[in-house]
Symmetry: C2
Subunit: 268 residues, 2 copies
Amino acid sequence: MDQRSIGVFDSGLGGLTAVRELKRVLPTENIIYFGDTGRVPYGTRSDAAIVKYTRQDINFLKRFDVKMILVACGTVSSVGLPVLREEYPGLPLIGVVESASRAAAKATKNGKVAILGTNGTIRSGSYQAELKRICPDVDAIGKACPMFVPLVENGYTDGQVARLIVEEYLEEVLKFGADTIVLGCTHYPLLKKVISEVAGSDVTLIDVGAQAAHLVKEELTERGMLAEEDGSVSYYVSDNVENFATLGSLFLQCEIKEQVEKIDIERF
Amino acid sequence: MDQRSIGVFDSGLGGLTAVRELKRVLPTENIIYFGDTGRVPYGTRSDAAIVKYTRQDINFLKRFDVKMILVACGTVSSVGLPVLREEYPGLPLIGVVESASRAAAKATKNGKVAILGTNGTIRSGSYQAELKRICPDVDAIGKACPMFVPLVENGYTDGQVARLIVEEYLEEVLKFGADTIVLGCTHYPLLKKVISEVAGSDVTLIDVGAQAAHLVKEELTERGMLAEEDGSVSYYVSDNVENFATLGSLFLQCEIKEQVEKIDIERF
């Protein structure tokens, strides 16, 4: 038993889709969430910037003596985590790439998987490399979808604009013949309905935040580090405490009643 | 005569639309441009974050002993500048709000002006207040257009997606009967064609970057501070030196051949 909290962070609020699943599968865990709303989005930044921001995010969460960190951000998991993992021995860092790739390898029947992600994620080739490692026969392509985050953050999760952009980004993916699509950014589940309509019901969509939450459960169970008692969630952001509850509840799919605290991430 | 440089900054690359005009009307001036590409966009941040980022941007440019700063960002001009102006006595800070409001007041025939801007700009009511000050009879409304920056930065400056979003944002503006629309963010001139098609040819569009460049010329002339000889431009960004030349040339409408330097803006 380990009552210490699980740290979760994302470039912004997309990571709350992972918190939602975490609360469902591990209701006794205490969660500390950090959303870097002052510097979102990460997906369009350079690798150097992403690594720097990742280090600051981890350093902030480390202050709470967390027992594990779930990196609920496709871009950080792809670009920042591989570089930084060695800097934090003894602190388990769970990214979204490993668990989602595992789920995709299991789901595909024709061996063709597509990954949708930010520019940073797709540039890194992280999911493709992990898929190849798990299952060398799988053929994977990546497609950068830089408009998905602005669409989601501005409420275009349905309707003609969302549909046109989803159609454009999926054209190549569908031509490729993928039967499994990894939604490689924690914002993307909010576009699931439109993506599914355009891709067709035969295509399996992998929600990376949800998959990562399951991996956290597995790892904590294996290490005998599960918490007991009732869990709580604390929220920290680097900007805009006011907007957090409104936009955040979209991702979390329930009301956020907890206090939200603003911190200066550049100090870490 | 004053050979010192003019400092110009923006949250990202939109400010280059002002540099373009500055180079045209003041070819002998030396320009130092800073684009905060590591923290773009500002328009969705809180006022506190915008003020903090503005201070760092000005502090960076001050190191070059600039004779004047053109704030080529609608959000900074609306939110950061009014708070910070007093911190920099002796350093003329020219924002985009004053000159654009003046141009709009001059252009309108029916006294109805609309301002398109980021969330931060519209929340501030800066253009409306300035218009009221110049011309109390003018009736002005603001419309936040948070999707315009992502559209421009991802190349959607034409076509169906841009048109649908422009139509949505302009609906209220056209119902209001504005005969003059202020493009209150330096990104927006790249959507001018679509905005003009949707608004109709009777509506005058005010390009804030271009207007501000004219005000800079006026102020330097009045103060006897114009430079002679041939002018040059130096570029600084807080991220992504690689993408700068490609995306930047879209805004500047000519190739960027000069060296671009990356700096750590958080140190200022």
